[in-house]
Subunit: 163 residues, 2 copies
DNA sequence: ATTCTTGCAAAGCCTTTGCAACTGC
DNA sequence: GCAGTTGCAAAGGCTTTGCAAGAAT
């Protein structure tokens, strides 16, 4: 995974989540397990699915139960802290808070997710929505293919095969 | 669903599928059920999921079994006749043969899929891939939001509520 | 005749839920 | 103490698979 610049945010993810839990008519509680999840998830910038998260947190001796992880992930997405990405065979999550708007190049070989940002995309989406009188709520663009590293590996292998 | 121009193709979907089944080392058979599926699917241009297809075909008194439908859908995708679209909560299929390359505006209200084509998108994808030495294999862009019709309905409802 | 396809029932996979015990506020 | 959260086990939805019977070439 490559890096895009982080974005300045005034609140920590934890604060933002607490705010969400308390906001307008919501009377939700901030529990130890939720705190652990938020802390763990925002301690590293990567893409993960529910299973990976559970495994990794268990490895760190953090208490997590599967239903609670799913329930909390849903809240985190709703709170704007995480974004769900549907990869077809897998659903992964990534930070949506404190991180620049971007889309993905998904390597079908190694599974890596390269991030990129292109203002031309936003412009285009904007135009298309306007032309169709479509009220924009969000988008998902995933470009599938083979990343540079895997490509090199393939070329190397091919050369070796020829010898 | 709105219409994009159809594309001239030299083979019927059925012919193309037969060709696929027979091609390079494959010795797959063309069965009655597969034929019915291809015919039915290409008799109308719309987006459908496995369940809808099964229901509709049954309504037409066509014999279909769930496992066979899944197996055949997979072949049709592989053959380049259909494209899978992952909508997050649903997986739908659409024609990928005899139809122009396009992307989607997905209405979250009524579920409708508006199709559009913009060469600027291809250009952008091309550039991004080149910059990242990424070998392109395909992409999926889905723009979420509310379509014009649902928007009008919402505005109308709002007006009525004010009365 | 041989090899592939079918269909049933059953399993798989990921995700959600009912409910009693528990905990944050 | 009350209302929301947890965790188990169980159910759900969608998709795949093992295998014996059937069909295509």
């Amino acid at each position: 995974m490559n890096a895009l610049p982080a974005v300045e945010v005034s609140q920590t993810p934890e604060e933002k989540f607490r705010e969400y839990l308390a906001s307008r008519s919501r009377t939700q509680r901030y529990t130890a397990q939720q705190r652990d999840m938020v802390k763990y998830i925002f301690s590293k910038h990567n893409h993960f699915d529910a299973d990976e998260l559970i495994d990794e947190m268990k490895r760190e001796r953090l208490r997590v139960s599967r239903p609670t992880v799913y329930r909390t992930l849903k809240k985190l997405v709703d709170a704007g802290l995480l974004r769900r990405i549907n990869l077809g065979s897998r659903t992964v999550y990534e930070h949506d808070y404190g991180y620049a708007q971007h889309d993905h190049l998904h390597c079908e070989q190694c599974g890596d997710m390269l991030e990129f940002h292109d203002p031309k995309l936003e412009q285009m989406i904007n135009d298309v929505c306007r032309q169709n009188h479509f009220q924009y709520a969000g988008h998902a663009l995933i470009i599938r293919g083979v990343c540079a590293r895997c490509n090199r590996a393939r070329v190397m292998k091919h050369r070796l095969d020829l010898v």
